[in-house]
């Protein structure tokens, strides 16, 4: 192959890799709403109870560059909001949990509502604004639901 063709191929490789990186970065930390199952602390081997308002379940491994930063962020968010608990699950010695929750990257965070139902899922390091907005939506819905079901329960 002559050098000019080779340089052309190098540029193609560079462009393809850049596109790959841009796609990856755009998907990082995106909050996806899901209608998931209700899970309990035992399901994720958590020694601490879930939060009455919401729970942030973070999956990490001991070899994960972004996990410590995400842990600090979610800890801080949980601390500021009453009833919200952050649980960090180390998958390093629990491949069964990694498979059960289909974790493909670390950190992966599940956002549970007050009943323990999985309402959202975040792959990669999330932003504080996205987590806060999702928690706002989840805790608001919960309050609204309790408010609307309250009159109905009177005729029971």
């Amino acid at each position: 192959m002559n050098p000019l063709e080779a340089i052309g191929l190098l540029f193609a490789l560079l462009a393809a890799t850049t596109v790959l990186g841009l796609v990856w970065r755009a998907r990082q930390g995106r909050v996806a709403s899901v209608a998931g199952d209700i899970i309990t602390p035992a399901d994720v081997a958590s020694p601490t109870a879930f939060g009455p308002a919401a729970t942030l379940v973070q999956f990490s491994t001991e070899l994960c560059a972004r996990c410590p930063g995400t842990r600090r962020l979610l800890d801080a968010v949980a601390e500021q909001r009453p009833g919200v608990v952050h649980v960090d699950v180390d998958l390093t010695h629990r491949p069964d949990l990694a498979n059960r929750f289909a974790v493909l990257q670390t950190p992966t965070t599940l956002i549970l509502d007050g009943s323990g139902r999985v309402r959202a899922r975040v792959g990669g390091a999330p932003s504080r604004a996205d987590i806060s907005a999702t928690l706002d939506a989840i805790t608001q819905n919960t309050t609204r639901r309790t408010l609307t079901t309250a009159p109905g329960s009177s005729h029971v």
Binding site: M1, N2, P3, E5, A6, I7, L9, L10, L13, L14, T17, T18, L20, G21, L22, W24, R25, T61, E62, L63, C64, A65, R66, P68, G69, R71, D88, D90, L91, T92, H93, R94, P95, A98, N99, V103, L104, Q105, T106
Partner: protein, 159 residues
Amino acid sequence: MSKPPRARLDPRGPRFGASLTAVLLLVVVFLSLTGASAAALTLLAAITALFAWGALAGAGRHPYGVLFKKFVRPHLAPPTELEDAAPPTFAQGVGLAVTLVGLILGLAGVPGAVGIAAAAAFVAAFLNAVFDYCLGCQIYLLLVRFGVLNRGRRTVGNV
């Protein structure tokens, strides 16, 4: 295995090293495409040796890390936070595995092996350098899921 205090790094160090590695790997791809097989093989051998250095001595003691500390870091603001050295060290091991396979197949005379291995390693090094993507972290999780790294259940204290 007890938990020794882990080495911590300026996270920009490994990314600086990855950018140097990416450039060198691109040169290997160019050499193998233009038919300079011997030169491509020699340069890939040197890159493989550097990966081995990083994987065995730790990402903090990599020659590029020394270059970074001496010539680059003095011109930068202090790091906002330090990072565990384990993920970039593991990444060096992944790079070593890929380039070593390319090197062995290249020495065995498999056509295209050197160029393809260098291109694969380039993708990982470039994504690491430019986008802060951690391939090692991803592969580590896959190894956990396939049970390769499951050394029995034990409780890991909260860090």
